[in-house]
Structure formats: C-alpha cells, structure tokens
C-alpha cells in the first residue's frame, strides 16, 4: 500500500521518539562505563564530547531508522508478481529545506562546540612543567629539563599544567597518555608538543598508538599523578644522570 495513513505516521513519530530516547541513554551510559579513568581536563572534555555527540546524533539516527522501519512495515509490497508503480514523488521542497536546515544547524552546533573545545584545550597557563618524552623502539623514557632526571616512569604533579615535548629516536611513534586524553606523534628529528592539566591523583597509562614495528603492541609505560610535594621528593630522590 502506497499511502501513509495518519495512524501509520503517528507510529513513525512514536518510533522516532522511542529510538531517540534509547540512543540518548546509550550516549549517557556507555561512555562512562567504557572510557578510561578521567584524570585531566582534556580527558574530561573527551568524555563529555562523546556523550554530547551521541545525544546530538540520536534523533538523526533514530529518524532514519524509524523511516526504514516505517517503510518495511507499510510500504512493503507483499504480492508475488512485479509491484505496480508507486506515486512518482520527485520533489518535496519543504522536506528538503527542513532537512538541509536541520542538518546544517546540527553541524554548526557540533562545530562550534568543537572549536570552543579546541580553543579551551589550546589555552595555556604560560608556566607549564615541561617533560621531554623520547620514544624509541619500543619503550618510552621521560626526562625533566632543568634537572638531570631521566626515568622510565612518568611522574607529574597534580593541578599543574604539564607540557610534553615529544620526539623519537627512530620511527614515528604515538605518545598517548590514556587517562589524560591527549596524544601526539613522536617523530625523529623534530619535537612535537601537547599539554594538559592533570586533576586527579593516581596511576596513569601511556600507550603507543602509531604502528612502529615489531613490539608496537608492548610499547606501554606507566606513570603517576602525585601531589606537588611528593613530586619534588621524587625528583630529588632520583640519581642525577648525565
């Protein structure tokens, strides 16, 4: 049957609504359940963005799925022979304009959010703790300029912006501090930088996220976010390496 009666359209809108709610709930609960422990402002931003984008996408996905369900229920030809012609609807200007406007508005919203988040991420306090990160196949080492400390575990103090200057000794690696929500590639011959502000004490994990050869899968390191006092104590306790 080719026409969409009022009742079937009502069903379409109800399906759209229910699916939207389901997807919104997925958006609220899944990221919290699965994303790694948030220990910096950037990780927090990543989590919030995931939730927000899922919520924004929910009505779009739900609408398309509700449309498909509606078609399968009401517009399926159930005969055995070739179906007859359906109404030759070539244009629906109102629908087109509505769709384009809505998708543009949604895109612009997501864009504004993203640009704002990017600006917030890029803002720097001007006095970060600098940590030099060296990746080489297949371990990470950390050194603290201004001291002579070189370590295989990353120590950073809480609530102070840290700037990672990253390089590689051989091939391209990917320096990713999972709990800080930041990553940047480590390239030979150049320094790349990324910065964030840890805001929670605890253990952090660092993984390599750029395929770098044989033991790429094992190029993990651990780190610790500690109080500033503990940090100074740790720095002092490390033997001076040249």
């Amino acid at each position: 049957m080719a026409t969409s009666s009022k009742s079937s359209l009502r069903l379409f809108f109800w399906t759209w609504g229910i699916l939207t709610v389901v997807f919104v709930l997925i958006g609220i609960f899944i990221p919290h359940r699965y994303m790694p422990g948030v220990m910096s402002n950037d990780a927090n931003l990543a989590l919030t963005t995931t939730i927000l984008f899922t919520i924004c996408a929910a009505p779009v996905a739900a609408g398309v799925y509700a449309g498909a369900i509606h078609i399968l229920k009401h517009h399926r030809y159930r005969g055995d022979d070739v179906p007859p012609a359906a109404p030759p609807i070539r244009e629906n200007t109102k629908l087109l304009v509505t769709w384009l406007t809505a998708s543009t508005v949604l895109t612009v919203f997501v864009l504004v959010w993203g640009l704002g988040a990017l600006a917030a991420e890029n803002s720097t306090s001007g006095n970060p703790l600098v940590v030099d990160v060296t990746g080489q196949q297949w371990v990470w080492t950390f050194s603290y300029p201004g001291t002579q400390v070189v370590s295989n575990e990353l120590y950073v103090p809480d609530n102070r912006e840290v700037e990672f200057r990253v390089t590689s000794e051989d091939v391209t690696h990917g320096f990713w501090v999972v709990n800080f929500g930041v990553q940047v590639d480590a390239n030979p011959g150049v320094w790349t930088t990324i910065h964030t502000t840890p805001d929670k004490l605890g253990t952090i994990e660092i993984r390599c996220e750029q395929f770098c050869g044989l033991n790429h899968a094992f190029m993990d390191a651990i780190g610790h976010v500690v109080t500033p006092k503990q940090f100074s104590a740790w720095l002092a306790s490390q033997p001076a390496r040249v």
Partner: protein
C-alpha cells in the same frame, strides 16, 4: 582479410597475427616471471652488492621486471607497437580482440569488450576479497585472547598492511570495476567505452599489482600499516619495495580507468541522453572517476619517494637527511581521504539506482542527489589532514580541517534523505538487493556518525589510533560499501548471466553477515573506547572480552560471505532463469537481450525521458 598481418621472429614483442592472438593470462604470468628474473640478474651485476641500498634496488628491479613482462605477455603493448610500425589492426582483428566468437577463452585474454572486462573485474574483486578475508580471519583468530598464539608479532604485523591494501583495492573496484564497465556504457546507449584497450589495460594492471602485493607476504611482510608512514617504511625490509611498486602500478590502473569513464560519460551518450536524463549511477561513476583522477597521483608520488629513499639514497622522509615523514603523511592522505569517497560514491549511486527500481518510483530529489555527490567530491579534497590531527604536524590547522570535515556530514546526510525518500511511499519489492540496501542504511548511520566523533579534534586526541577508528571505517567499508556492492551484484547478476542470484542463499548470507558485522565491529567500538590501540599483535587483559566477541563475530561474517560465494557459484550456471528484464526497470541495460550482444545495440537508442517513469503518471510535486 587478415593477410596484411605477418609474424615477426626477430623481436620478442609480438605484433598482429597468430602470436598476438595466443596471448593470455598464462603467457602474461610466464613472461612476467621471466622478465622478473632477467631484471633481477641485471640488478645483481649492475648494482654494487655492498651498498646499503642493494637489496632494495634488487627488489625494485625484480618487481619492475614482473610488471613489464606481464604487460608484454598479456599484449598491452601490441597496439601501440603496431601503430609505431604502421600495421594497424584490421576490423577483424578488433573484433577478435573484443572477444567475438571466442567463447570462454575471451575472459583470459586482453579483451576489449567492456562486458568481458566487467566480468573479469567481478572475478578479480572476489579474489581480492578472498585474500583479504583470509588475512582478516588470521588476524582475528590471533586476537581471540591476549598474547601471541599461532603466529608471533612479526608475522602478525605483516598481515596488517596487506589485509588493508588488498581490501582497499577490492573495494575501490568492487562496484566501479564490474558495473561501471559492464553496465554504464549500455546505460548511456554506447556500444563500448571510449578507450576499449585502456579498459583491458586497467584490469590487467590491477591483476599484476595484486600479485606484487601478495609477494610482500612471501618476502617476509612489512611491519607497517597500509598508511606506510615514511619512517617505518624506510626501516622495513624488502617487502616495502614490492608494496610501493604495487601501488605505483595500481595508480596506472585507476588513472587509466578514470580517464576512460569520464571520457565515455561526457562524449559517448546516445542521442537524447542529456545530463538531466542520465541515470544516477552514471552520475556517481562520473564523480568517482573525476575524484580518482585527482587523488591517486598523490599516492603514486608518495610511494615513488619511498622507493627513491630506499634505492637511491634520497631523504624525502629521513629526518637525518633533511626530510620529514610528514611529507609522506600529507601526500598519502591527500590521496587517502578522497579515496574513501572513490570507494563510497559508487556504492551509494548503485543503491540509488536500485532503490528506484525496487520501490517503483523515481529517485527522490534527483538534483539534490547530484548536488550531494558533487559537494562530497569537492569537499573531500579539502579534509585530508583530519587524519593527521595528532601527528603534531600543524596544530594550527586543526580548526580549519575540523570545519571542512564536519561540513561533509551535510552532503552525506543528503544521501539518507534521497535513499529513504525514494523508498518512502513506494511499493518496495523485498528481493535480496533491497535487503542489502536496508543493511546499508543501518550500518552507514553508525559508520557516518562515528566519523563525526573522530573529526572533533579534542575527542580525536583520545580516540585516534584506537580500535574505535578501525570499527568506524569497517562499518563504512564492510557494513556500507560491501553491502552496496553485494546489492549491486544481486541486482545486475541477471543481466550478466541470465539467472537470478539464489534468493534464499542470499538471505542466509545477508543475515549472517549483517549480524556478524554488528557483533564484530560493535564490540570493536567498545575496545576502542576502552583504550585499545590499533595494529596491536597483543593487548592488555582489559580488552579481552570485547576482542573475544569480535572474533566470534568475524567467524559469523566469514560463514555468511562463504554462503554468498556458494550462491554465486551455484547460480551462475544453475540459478533460476530471469529473462532480459526481471526487475522491469527502464534503464537501457535492461532493454537489451541477455546475453548482451557484442556491440550492445542493433540500432542506437534515442532517449526522450529519464528512466524513472514507472507508469507514465504525471509527476507529483509535493
């Protein structure tokens, strides 16, 4: 009538006559191997064996020998050579090379008939999918639990790039290869493509390139992703040389095919086939080919630079020599992003075409569909660095590339409007092409939306390089493009063979693959959210459950795809007879008999309206 053609004995390159007519796939392989050996031998004596670059020089020469030998052996150089010596083909020769009266032998030769090339592409696509599929299953089996199992990390790492590249090749040609070749010329009322010999060249070059790719595995693989970052590409063993050479060869194939498609569509449409009566699939092919023409030369250069670094001591990508791996990344992604649209647009355009026939109504908003594809094509050239947000290359460009990338979601959204809008209020014929189409709709939403997550720079700093990215593009490649390709196969199968692709088996295959995709890649999204990096031979215990589920899903997909293979094998000879126009469609390919005559039409058709009039009703504008 063949009296003007004689054999020559002196040169190894054949020209006209008996020798040329004996060339086929076998002679191509034989000559490829022979010339590979000859070039290898020359390399051993020409290049200094003590140099650092020697093994790479040797490998590149061997691979080049294979390429050239294959081309000579299949007969690619015959026509230019004959032209050079003033002995052009006669009409009979041309008919011979078009496969007239050759029976099945014509599928093994350098046949110019676009329909033969189309069927050859079907076989090549299926073979590439098989090789890529075996590697995928090897990878997923290895990843079933943490730790290394039946292979070690060195062997596993070698799978990754070859699985990726082989599957990408398969998907680039999955719809453009068979259907832009077989169907498109008939759809526009032409008797063949503009450059029939280039058509055969593009197919056989692809075969030669695929052979080089498989060789990579045989020489020890290479521990790089298909993205072949310059630094690790330089460090890798000789497998990298074969890979780079395969790419260089492959870009010849796509460039030639794109030129052919664009020229054919622009110049060979029959009388009355104005641009606004063009079937939407032809529009899709036009945009795809134009985009491919723009994009693939970047890949050519990227890999040529890599070869030069490895064989000629240049430093394009070597920091110590003044180069940078970012050059490679930029060149690669300048190709790599448009390339995913080269893969996607044919699938979408084919589904548009199929949706009109299966819903018995015109394409909803034909002009918007064209506009959407045009916008996608144009914008796709401006978004490449979103793959490099975390590379550290140009942090200030994060914002602009985020803008262009998120803007692409608007034309992509239009695709849903057109597809659902065409089916809405239709009399939807639930045959297997339609089933795969609904699968596409479901999967493409997920794939498309998750792309938006990755386009947000701060979120990308968490998700880049994780299995979230892998799941995203597998939803697009497997869940969307492959579904579109299978829908197109089920739809046009009757035109090629005169039989339906078995409906029941196709349904089993659909449900197995569809459910398998959700399980495999749904769980993979969770692995990525949790923080599992991609391209890992082993992983933390934290990811063991989601990986186990993904592996189970992979086996389900495998079962479904093998069922589909069984359906194809069975139906090719024993499927239910379909007649020349089983779907009662209006596009020109369905108006010619099955099997399609050599020159398609007895009389050139004259077009008076677009193909979306199913019952001569007055069009309704709502």
């Amino acid at each position: 009538m063949t009296t003007t053609l004689e054999k020559t004995e002196t040169m190894s390159k054949p020209q006209g006559g008996g020798l040329a007519r004996r060339q086929n796939f076998a002679t191509a392989i034989i000559l490829g191997v022979i010339l590979a050996w000859v070039f290898w031998f020359v390399a051993r004596h020409l290049f200094w064996q003590g140099s650092d670059n020697f093994s790479d020089q040797e490998a590149v020469m061997t691979g080049a020998g294979w390429m050239i030998g294959f081309w000579i052996g299949i007969g690619a150089f015959n026509a230019p050579f004959q032209w050079l010596v003033g002995r052009d083909n006669s009409h009979d020769d041309n008919m011979y090379y078009a496969g007239k009266d050759l029976g099945r032998a014509r599928y093994w030769k350098y046949t110019t008939d676009h329909k033969v090339v189309g069927v050859q592409y079907i076989i090549v696509t299926m073979s590439l999918l098989a090789v890529g599929g075996i590697l995928a299953m090897a990878m997923r089996t290895e990843l079933i639990t943490p730790g290394t199992h039946f292979v070690n990390q060195q062997v596993y790492n070698g799978f990754i790039a070859i699985h990726g590249m082989v599957m990408i090749l398969a998907l680039i040609v999955a719809i453009s290869g068979p259907w832009a070749n077989f169907v498109m010329p008939i759809m526009i009322g032409a008797r063949d493509m503009a450059f029939p010999r280039l058509n055969a060249l593009s197919l056989w070059t692809l075969v030669s390139a695929a052979a080089l790719l498989v060789t990579v595995l045989a020489v020890g693989g290479m521990p790089v992703g298909w993205v072949v970052l310059g630094t690790i590409g330089d460090q890798a063993g000789v497998g990298m040389d074969f890979f780079a050479l395969a790419i260089v060869t492959f870009t010849v194939s796509t460039t030639v095919a794109s030129i052919n498609n664009v020229t054919t569509i622009l110049t060979m449409r029959t009388k009355g086939m104005t641009l606004d009566r063009l079937p939407i699939f032809v529009w899709g092919t036009l945009f795809t080919s134009a985009l491919a023409l723009y994009a693939f030369p970047f890949f050519f250069i990227a890999e040529l630079n890599q070869i030069l670094d490895r064989t000629a001591s240049t430093s394009f990508y070597i920091a110590a020599g003044g180069g940078t791996s970012w050059l490679q990344a930029n060149l690669f992604w300048l190709m790599g992003h448009p390339e995913v649209y080269v893969i996607l647009i044919p699938s979408v355009a084919a589904l548009f075409e199929i949706s009109t026939v299966m819903a018995r109504k015109p394409l909803f908003s034909y002009r918007t569909a064209i506009g959407g594809m045009a916008a996608l094509t144009g914008l796709s050239a401006l978004v490449w660095a979103h793959h490099m947000f975390t590379s550290g290359w140009a942090p200030t460009l994060g914002g602009p590339f985020m803008v262009t990338t998120e803007l692409i979601s608007i034309p992509t959204g239009i695709f849903f409007l057109v597809l659902v809008g065409t089916l809405w209020r239709g009399n939807v014929w639930m045959k297997s092409p339609t089933l795969w189409m609904f699968g596409f709709i479901f999967n493409f939403i997920i794939g498309g939306v998750t792309g938006i997550y990755l386009s947000d720079v701060p979120l990308d700093e968490q998700l880049h390089g994780t299995m979230f990215v892998t799941a995203h593009f597998h939803y697009i490649f497997v869940g969307s493009v492959l579904f579109g390709a299978i829908s197109a196969l089920a739809y046009w199968f009757p035109k090629v063979t005169g039989r339906f692709l078995d409906e029941t088996l196709n349904r089993y295959a659909f449900w197995l693959v569809f459910i398998g995709v959700q399980i495999t890649f749904g769980a993979m999204f969770l692995s990525g959210l949790k923080g599992m990096p991609r391209r890992d031979a082993s992983y933390s215990f934290a990811f063991e459950h989601t990986n186990f589920i993904s592996t189970i899903g992979a086996y389900i997909i495998m079962t479904g795809m093998l069922t589909l293979l069984g359906a194809i094998i069975h139906s090719w000879r024993k499927g239910e007879a379909s007649g020349p126009n089983p779907w009662h469609a209006n596009t020109l390919e369905w108006q010619v008999p099955t099997p399609v005559p050599l020159e398609n039409f007895d009389v050139d058709p004259i077009i008076t309206e677009d193909p979306y009039h199913f019952d001569n009703e007055e069009p309704v504008h709502v």
